[in-house]
Amino acid sequence: MSDELYSVLALGMRYWFIALGLLIVIQTFLWLYRDHREKHRRLKNLPDAGMIGEFVVLAGGGTLEEGAVIPVPWEGMMGSSRMCDVVVPSGDFAPVHLYFSFVRNKGLQIEAARGRSCYVDGALQEYRGKNTADGKMVHGSILQVGDCVLRLRLFAGLDVERRAKRKPDDDLKEYGMPVASQGVPRPGYDGWVDAQTEEERFTGMYLVKDEEQDGNTKETTGGSREKDENE
């Protein structure tokens, strides 16, 4: 092709390339917008989508409101500091109290920070050096730090098919934890948690019996978000 003809062709094609460039950019941002909208729609229909789970406050030690929900969007640190992934605004928690990581089909693996301790289903968890954590929280497990008692509700990563064939306490037995149906003793807390049925364990329903000093029994029921809202 002669240079003159090529010049004319290239000059004409400038508009074509710019138009295609603009269309590519528009399509890209339309795609981004569509995904953004889909994410919002999903969150509207499934508020728990994209979350690992949540902690429900059973006892707040005077600083946390009972029944309050603390979301667990991703794994990381838990403590009272603003930089933590799960912030628990309580004096019982150190600024960085524990680390937790999410293990699919298992739950949360808990590791206390240096010089800190906590109880997972009644078992003491202390710092034992890096990467030596053995505390595992399954759906319905209880975490106690000082006077604060929190119950974990897992949304993600539970193999329900496998679990449904199991007995209610199999998970706890697997990790060598006290069996919930027999009553989980929680040091420093005069009460116990009964896992009534397997269904309740999965749906997050629980019953806390708290024998008060005067001998009266106070019952607190916690459950799924919809049930709480209905009540």
Binding site: S7, L9, I18, T28, G76
Partner: protein
Amino acid sequence: MSKKPGGRLTVMVMLFYFTAFLLLALRNAVWQGYALALCVPAAIWGGTHVLGKCFHIDTLLFSLTNFLCALGILILYDTNPVLAYHQVVYYGVGLVGMVICIYFMRAFRTIRHLGFVMIAVSFAFLALPLLIGRETYGAKNWIYFHGVSIQPSEFVKILLILILAWFMSRRQFIPWFLCAVGCLLFLMLQKDLGTALLYYGVSLLLFFASTANLPLTLLGLLGGGGAAVMGYRMFAHVKKRVAIWRNPWSDYENAGYQIVQSLMALASGSLLGVGLGLGSPTTIPVYETDFIFSVICEQFGLIFGVCVLLIYVAVIWRGTTIAMASRHSFQGLAAMGATMMIGLQTFIIIGGVIKLIPLTGITMPFVSSGGSSLVSNMCLTGLIQGVASLNEDDLEEDLRLTEM
């Protein structure tokens, strides 16, 4: 045309490159041009569909990186076909690197003891140019092995992001700090200040992303400012670059020639460009690496230049979204670090080319000529794609549980 935006985008990208390579093939009248006009769109289509079937990859991110890589090949084919053929090979190697990184992110949820091996490898790689490297453009950051030149600091970027993300996910600040400072010291010894600026910026941004601690981040920024002043006083070539940045016309025939030619190319391109294959892009020294954005603007015009910038913005947006959707801190931070690395590198080089900031010798991600740069950027994309793939797995699991 497909009704899905993904399908439409792929078709448009394919059409763009088919016509562009065909135009150049008509001028050169060589079979390689026609082959590229068919192969590049076919590779874009095949890559998007085949890789998408193997993993849950983010198709948008993959299409955008493909667009940028093909743009680099197109410009190089126009100006120096041999470099373009090399770039095609590097792109193939980069794809393999990307797949390895996707596998790595899927297989290793944590790096634990592997982290210490990575630190040792990073320091060894950064020490290599000091021992056996040669000085190029004032910095001793290249090694030559059997006729192949490699820039180790490009590959250390990937390891550094993984190491820093691991330490930050564990909130281990002292190892994080020591590792970042160690790498920066090696780069200062190599006088590779552009890469040092990149490493420093990414370390600081990763710290902020992880802790949201604004006072300490600002303190770090202040420290970086102090180090920049020190660098200015210590290194003669830094002084020279700052002087050129302030007034390139004062010595436009020597030190300021490169930036002046770049500005003239931007001006001559105007809004619509001079046309593909026209103009005189080769008059800009190092046009194929540092100044490739000037060549794009000269040939396609400033409007297209802005489109390219918007595509980088979309890449960063997508990477950030993927990082924030991750449930695992290590993976989220790794994706965030990789995104920031690409974003900051783009800002530094394009800022230098348009005389917004002093010029530093780094490449334009995915577009510039050079195997080390292209492969490392593809690997960074692989890290992001790996996290995107895990996010999709998590989401599928959620939906499966919801349906039950």
